[in-house]
Symmetry: C2
Subunit: 412 residues, 2 copies
């Protein structure tokens, strides 16, 4: 028998969090470890203790709120996401997963359900990576992907350090930032941030994994020259070579995997003057695919295209590989728990691979993990215009609650 | 019989000016109306009065130094260029033309030559256009191409106005900024700023005109989206469209005039983030050709290429035409005076069209005009590495002196 969360309470709680660091444009500006982040953390702690949960804050500010299980030695089920936002981002990206997890434990209380395993609701520190890099910092430290002392020293644009900001807002906890016991499973509800569910008319996404990702920074060195007096054949124009490479990167996915995406998101020109032939251009590449071999092939192709474009224009080039995140295949058990919940609730669920990284990426290295995606209208994300209808919030949170209960085990 | 300028004095005077606002890298940082510009103006006034010339400063800071002619009613010959520099520019671009003109009148004194016409040496205000736009501002005001009150109000990046800076450095003169009498001819010596003379092994350039120029600013509006979750076919990537257009602009000259040049010098991306599909891209186009019809065809082709690139990527586009400067054909009389001087001195001169705008562009609308080009090593310009050998400075200044004497008329 399925449980049914309280839709009104979910909406009310979502609206309450959205008021903390809310923007005039209806979005959220709640950067990690800012005053607004401090305020929403205090608010969350208040709600969690109000629901009778036991609070722990680890040394990197990750907040865990625990509901006891019948078997106190059983490995707990961890459910959550993040409460920080992008600069002028939306109100769903992150909070929906934390509020959805809170709504799950509240619903257990409504039904008077005891679970066999303990259940923990988690709010991870700095998922967005806008103020401090990298993204998914808190879950990464917890999972052992990053060294905590190195991450403490990371600074924002003003030179403020993570460790000082954690102290300042009172969220540098006593607990070591690591799994303190084996976990049975991790579940995360998150907006899709893409158009797939809406395009296919689905209600909810059953996420089976997360694409692998490769970032690079390409630098092209040409020769600055006067735009009027330098004949065309005399030029080594870094922007022409870069443009040639950008169009080649755009064509990459069409000749590789069906789900490959490749993006040049940032590009800067020097000296950047109307009448000077560009000398230096730097641009980034972001290539993603669920399959590691396809990803390797795509990166090799990108390198070859950059080299060919540079050769054609007679400019020098360098490629620095700045980040690699392996593709994650979620474990069968939690994925099937999500798929079963979708079926039992009578929703139209679609299996899909996430194109974006999530805290679940790191959690999956600690225990079995899976994710639930809600519909994102027009696929809009990282903008105040991000939108998931309350119906979609309700449906996806209901899936989360039922899948989590399945994993935690019901004691009747 | 040719006159022969004093090579050592020319070099010494060039070195003296190069010390004012000189950079550690051996260049010049002498922005228009800066303290360094004020210092070099004072130095120039000192040298000109030392050579017995009569000084006038007009209301836009253009400085005229006059040597009387036998016929005081005859239209004078105007010779000069500019003493301001690019940011961290070279020591030849501008100063060589002013010092060359000064050396011409000094040589007249050496030889005890009286000219029929008066001769004036001019230092134009703000040729470079780096601190205040537009370039060639002083000569443009003088020639009536710009309204002086509008130009007075132009501001630099700090918000300082031209008129206030003219007052501050003491170069807002009493004389109206306009030709106070008909001029017989204008001559200007300038480094080529391109590789043509060096490539052809010539000693000096006989400039027969200045290319026409069209500047535009293109804006492409796409849709910002997450680089991981947005399928390729769902994208409207402003940078992909811009890159497509940039490569098309690069190909334009090959299918048009032999001397067409086309450049995208400036390009900016928003939001300019590694994992966001670019929403807005702005870039400039700079197209030049000696022939107006070819120029019109090139601009039309650029517009069509931008529209096609925008269509292919499904982005909106706007094109703003920000500047048009017509092609200038210099008059036969002063061009022949330059060509004759080259012949009489036994140099290897090449006729050529200037790819860059000069104060001569504006002067040519007031009186007959022509230019002399010196060799620019490797065509380097607008950089501290700009280089013209002292031999090339000497030869080109010698051509200037003899051509100017020809036009001024020798009284024997």
């Amino acid at each position: 028998m399925s449980i049914d969360i309280d839709r009104d309470r979910l909406v009310e709680t979502m609206e309450a969090q959205a008021a903390i660091g809310g923007t005039a444009g209806g979005g959220l500006h709640r950067l990690a470890l800012s005053d607004a982040d401090a305020a929403v953390r205090d608010w969350f702690v208040d709600r969690a203790t109000g629901a009778g949960l036991d609070l722990r804050v680890d040394a990197f500010g990750n907040v865990f709120a625990r509901r006891a299980g019948a078997d106190s030695d059983a490995a707990p089920v961890l459910v959550g996401s993040h409460l920080d936002s992008q600069p002028y981002g939306g109100i769903y990206d992150g909070p929906l997963g934390v509020i959805g997890a809170l709504e799950f434990v509240r619903t257990l209380d409504d039904y008077g359900i005891e679970t066999r395993r303990p259940v923990e609701v988690v709010n991870w520190t700095n998922e967005e990576g806008s103020r401090f890099q990298p993204a998914m910092q808190g879950s990464g430290v917890w999972a052992g992907a990053h060294d905590i002392d190195e991450e403490y020293e990371k600074t924002d644009a003003d030179g403020d350090r993570v460790v000082d900001e954690l102290e300042r807002i009172g969220y540098r906890g006593d607990e070591p930032a690591e799994p303190r016991e084996p976990y049975h499973a991790y579940l995360e509800l998150h907006p899709e941030q893409g158009p797939f569910l809406e395009e296919t008319g689905a209600d909810v996404g059953v996420v089976t994994g997360i694409v692998g990702l490769r970032w690079a920074e390409v630098t092209l060195h040409g020769q600055a020259n006067h735009s009027g007096t330098t004949p065309m054949h005399y030029r080594n124009d870094a922007l022409v070579a870069a443009s040639d490479a950008v169009t080649a990167v755009r064509r990459l996915p069409g000749s590789l995997g069906e789900r490959t995406v490749a993006t040049v998101g940032s590009l800067t020109v020097q000296p950047d003057s109307v009448n000077i032939v560009p000398e230096t251009v730097r641009f980034t590449t972001d290539i993603r695919d669920p399959d590691e071999a396809t990803l390797d092939a795509a990166v090799a192709r990108m390198e070859a295209e950059v080299a060919a474009a540079a050769d054609r224009e007679g400019v020098e080039h360098e490629i620095e590989h700045t980040m690699a995140s392996p593709a994650v295949d979620f474990s069968e058990r939690p994925v099937e728990a999500v798929a079963d919940a979708v079926d039992h609730l009578g929703y139209d669920g679609r299996r899909m691979v996430s194109g974006a990284g999530h805290d679940a990426t790191h959690a999956a290295s600690v225990c079995d993990a899976a994710m639930v995606f809600s519909v994102s209208e027009d696929g809009k994300s990282h903008t105040e215009d991000e939108f998931t209808s309350w119906s979609d919030c309700y449906r996806s949170a209901n899936v989360l609650a039922n899948a989590a209960l399945d994993l935690a085990g019901r004691v009747d």
